[in-house]
């Protein structure tokens, strides 16, 4: 059958319009959409309002003389104490303290022991159990090198008091001990400084938070010996042995927290950049505290770094002053002497000045061979390393005596403290990263989300949930490990190079791109459709007119 010319034209126009609309538009839509893998958005939203529960286990041992045998039977097995604090509205932390009755003093992993002593404790020094019992009258609490603390019963608590009063006296003091040994509200708030803009109570906590490096999976430590005057001094330092003997034990102990890599170098003809002044009262050259700030920059330009990773670098410099400017001492702000002769810069490292004019002997023949006393040098560097890694806690409350840390440089409870704050910091940083990544990907519809990014995000979310659960259970080691995994995954997802938002198209540019392509195609179709419609309408009008 032969359709009329007009009919054929109408059919052609209609079929082309049908093809364009039914086939073309969906095809164009599917081929121009960006690939976005699925992200666990609901779980991320849940994580955004972070609710952390930190629990610290404490074993309290009542020494003989503190409780009567009848009271001993009635001491509760466990007792929990909770404290809720809200930080910045969307974060709640609960402290749980569990009191357990026990008579053995085993060093359970990551729990603290508090030994409760009667008021007039006989004093003895005991090496086997690493407990020192001291004679000081005003010291009521002693914190040892491992995880043990000794608490002396107060004078108002004689044995005749009831058990309830004893426990009521006990609890706040144990809480105070725990705040020193495990975590306190200030520490946790400082660790959360990524999430909350906190206004701290005192200057020391700001200085503390600025000084320590942020949590990172690894650190690079560089030891440099600066010898500005090789003609006078020939320096020998056994840096490898010293690192092995003094620094490595600390780093091995810190291995759950981060990886460390160490290197060393010697630099010749590197001056300090500041002219020291000759002080006649001490007949020595001095550098006062204000000029120390300008020492670091000229030296840093020469230091170089062979770090192949993006980990933060800690620089420890040992400066041996030249023969003209020996001996060189550092003065504090109030012109006081500094026994360590060293200073450090927050988040950078430390510098120690080592005077060698004492080694000259009677008739020095330059160059003088000098062996540097690495024990003294490493003692200072170790102290600076502790400060820079955030190990140093604030001053303990009055009446507390803290044992000197052993030769590893780190007490066990200090390690615990560091692990608590690092876990919380890692969890907070990882949640912020994940939530801001999710927000970013949500806002910008044009970014392609590859499968590997989605997988990293999912694994980060899983690790975060596990870390929070472990923190709640009090398993510090696992919590730290999961939090580290969470941070690694979240950073990898956030900083993936494929997420670069270069696809910002303002709407007028989108129109400018599509109109020259689709308008010439659409205009004939539209016009022919319009013509069909107008003809149909005209025919209907004619039919109407015919009917009338």
């Amino acid at each position: 059958m032969f359709l009329s010319e007009r009919r054929r034209g109408q059919l052609a126009a209609l079929s082309i319009a049908a093809v364009v609309i039914i086939v073309g538009v969906p095809l164009w839509w599917r081929t121009t959409e960006t690939y976005r893998a699925w992200l666990p958005v609901s779980q991320i939203k849940e994580l955004a309002k972070l609710q952390l529960q930190l629990s610290a286990d404490v074993e309290v041992v009542f020494a003989r003389g503190t409780v009567t045998p009848e009271q001993q039977k009635k001491v509760p097995l466990t007792q929990t104490q909770e404290e809720e604090r809200a930080i910045d509205g969307d974060l709640i932390i609960l402290f749980l303290i569990l009191l357990i009755r026990n008579t053995k003093l085993e060093s359970k992993f990551f729990s603290c022991h508090v030994l409760f002593l009667p008021e007039d404790t006989a004093l003895r020094y005991s090496t086997q159990a690493d407990l020192y019992l001291l004679a000081f009258q005003d010291v009521n609490v002693y914190i040892g090198q491992r995880r043990t603390a000794l608490l002396r019963i107060g004078p108002q608590m004689r044995v005749g008091k009831t058990l309830e009063q004893l426990l009521a006296h006990l609890e706040p003091r144990i809480k105070q001990v725990l705040q020193v040994m495990s975590f306190s509200h200030n520490d946790i708030t400082a660790a959360l400084s990524d999430r909350v803009r906190f206004s701290p109570d005192n200057k020391e906590s700001i200085a503390d938070s600025m000084r320590a490096f942020k949590s990172s999976p690894g650190y690079e430590i560089t030891f440099s010996l600066l010898n500005p005057d090789p003609k006078s001094h020939r320096l020998h330092w056994d840096i490898e042995g010293a690192v092995q003997t003094y620094i490595q034990p600390l780093l091995t102990k810190l291995s759950p927290v981060a990886n460390f890599s160490i290197d060393s170098q010697t630099l010749y003809y590197t001056m300090l950049g500041v002219n020291p002044r000759f002080d006649t009262s001490r007949s020595a050259y001095t550098l006062n505290a204000d000029s120390l700030a300008h020492v670091i920059n000229p030296v840093e330009a020469r230091l170089g770094s062979n770090a192949a990773s993006s980990n933060p670098v800690l620089n420890f410099l040992l400066y041996v002053p030249d023969a003209q400017h020996s001996p060189l001492y550092i003065q504090g702000r109030k012109k006081q002497e500094v026994p360590s002769n060293a200073f450090h810069s927050p988040r950078w490292g430390g510098i120690m000045v080592y005077n060698v004019n004492g080694f000259y002997g009677s008739e020095p023949e330059f160059p003088v061979d000098i062996n540097i006393d690495m024990a003294k040098v490493m003692g200072v560097f170790l102290a600076q390393l502790r400060l820079l890694l955030g190990v140093q806690s604030s001053t303990p409350p009055p009446g507390f005596l803290v044992a000197r840390c052993g030769s590893t440089g780190l007490a066990d409870w200090e390690l615990d403290r560091l692990m608590w704050s690092r876990s919380v910091e890692n969890v907070a940083t990882a949640t912020t990263t994940i939530t801001s990544l999710a927000q970013l990907l949500d806002q910008i519809g044009n970014i392609v989300i590859n499968d590997n990014i989605a997988q990293q995000v999912s694994s980060a979310v899983t690790s975060l949930q596990l870390a929070v659960a472990e923190l709640e259970a009090g398993n510090l080691g696992f919590a730290l490990q999961y939090s580290k995994e969470a941070i690694l995954a979240s950073e990898k997802a956030f900083f993936d190079p494929s997420l670069l938002h270069l696809l910002y198209f303002p709407d007028d540019q989108k129109f400018a791109i599509y109109i020259p392509l689709f308008l010439p195609m659409c205009v004939p179709i539209l016009l022919s459709l319009l013509k069909i419609v107008s003809e149909a309408r005209q025919r209907r009008r004619e039919k109407q007119a015919k009917k009338d």
């Binding site: 095809l27 003094y246 700030a293 300008h294 927050p346 030769s407 970013l440 270069l502 004939p524």
Partner: protein
């Protein structure tokens, strides 16, 4: 007697600064931790005299003078290190002045203490060794060749065609491929103050890179927001020397940003002076006067941002420089120039040392030595080329073919279909 002396000291201190002072007595008594007699003094002072207003800067300066410990200096600014990202976006010999601009800021920043490891310098073209340079290996900033800003220790991190919008945004947001060396990365943390300097040809809302692409102010604002989300800066100073530069900072919305531009929207930034020997304009006006201002700054200088805002007034610059400080939390008058342009380190005296005279017992442990993985070289070499997924033809091709078919059928009519199929 003592109280009177103290009173006078306090009074002169306050009046000498000429600021309005408001005393919050509660804070005073808690944070100062000085004797109650002093606090009583202050109460008296406020009751008798008209209430005065203290702004926090005076307060903290007062604090740091009273308390001599080093923690006091942390109050004035919250940063521990400084970074600088200096970008010149134009190529070709006649844009010599943009390279000279960037190099003069680089020179000042290095002189004031920021090391090369903390500077990311991006120059889109090489003027010093350009074939048309009559004085090779030099880039001058002033006629009569007074100041060679190229020097002999310039470290350019991104050169030539590496200076693209993509690389710039990657540097800012940190989304660089893992093989990028440290010198090409911006490894700042939440306590870094960053200086960003851009120069080139710009327009209303965009800046031209390499004469072929452009970065818009929205993209820049988004990049800064992503930096803020990851806490990659403590405070950021953004300086731009292009035509209509003020449009580039209009869209910023992240906190702690301060911006300066050499001209307002609708104005052109002009160049300073041509050099007849070299044959091109050597510097732009704004950066010329900025360099002059910075040459007077030394690392211990106390000049603040208000002085920087006054650089190059309209009489000298012909365009009107603008600045934006509403997103910045501190008062610009308390921000030192060296907070951004220099690198004044904070130092603390190490008061303790650990006694290591009794050595540790030798622990019998086997140390596992291993080499650090740098790049997975074997994987990279033996990588098979990625299989690209097949995508159906996109809209452009479809539209083109539809157009061709339509034209064909229109011209020749449908009846010719049977000759084809």
């Amino acid at each position: 007697m003592k109280t009177h002396v103290l009173f006078n000291l306090f009074a002169t201190f306050l009046l000498a600064d000429g600021l309005n002072i408001e005393v919050s007595v509660f804070d005073f008594s808690l944070q100062l931790q000085i004797s109650h007699r002093f606090v009583f003094l202050i109460l008296n002072f406020t009751r008798n005299v008209a209430p005065l207003l203290i702004n926090t800067q005076l307060f903290t300066r007062f604090l740091s003078r009273i308390s001599q410990d080093s923690a006091g200096q942390f109050f004035s600014s919250g940063h521990t290190n400084n970074w600088a990202v200096l970008v010149c976006t134009s190529r070709f010999w006649f844009n010599y002045r943009h390279v000279a601009n960037t190099l003069s800021v680089y020179r000042s920043v290095k002189r004031l203490g920021i090391p090369d490891s903390h500077i990311v310098l991006m120059l889109a073209d090489d003027m010093a060794c350009n074939h048309r340079n009559p004085k090779p290996a030099t880039v001058f900033s002033h006629k009569n060749m007074e100041l060679n800003v190229y020097g002999d220790d310039v470290e350019v991190d991104y050169r030539g065609y590496e200076v693209t919008v993509e690389n710039f945004l990657r540097v800012l947001t940190g989304r660089l491929p893992p093989s990028t060396p440290r010198s090409k990365r911006l490894l700042s943390d939440d306590r870094s103050n960053i200086l960003i300097y851009l120069t080139g040809h710009g327009g209303n809302g965009f800046l031209k890179f390499q004469d072929s692409e452009e970065i818009s102010n929205v993209e820049l604002a988004d990049a800064f927001e992503q930096m803020w989300q990851k806490r990659r800066y403590n405070e950021l100073l953004f300086i731009i020397d292009t035509c209509q530069g003020a449009s580039m900072y209009e869209r910023f919305y992240s906190p702690n940003l301060m911006a300066l531009a050499s001209s307002q929207v609708g104005e052109d930034s002009l160049s300073h002076q041509p050099d007849l020997a070299i044959g091109v304009h050597l510097m732009d006006r704004y950066t010329f006067y900025l360099l002059e201002f910075l040459e007077d700054i030394h690392p211990a200088s106390k000049a603040n941002m208000n002085d920087l805002f006054k650089v190059c007034p309209k009489s000298q610059c012909v365009s009107t420089p603008g600045h934006r400080t509403d997103l910045f939390l501190r008062d610009p008058g308390s921000v030192l120039i060296t907070d951004f342009f220099g690198s004044v380190r904070k130092v603390e005296i190490t008061t303790e040392a650990i006694d290591l005279t009794d050595p540790i017992k030798e622990v019998e442990e086997r140390y596992m030595h291993s080499y650090v993985d740098q790049l997975p070289v074997s994987e990279i070499i033996h990588q098979k080329p990625k299989q690209k997924d097949w995508h159906p033809p996109d809209g452009f091709i479809l539209g083109l073919w539809t157009l061709i078919l339509l034209v064909f059928f229109q011209t020749y009519g449908v009846k010719h279909l049977r000759h084809i199929f």
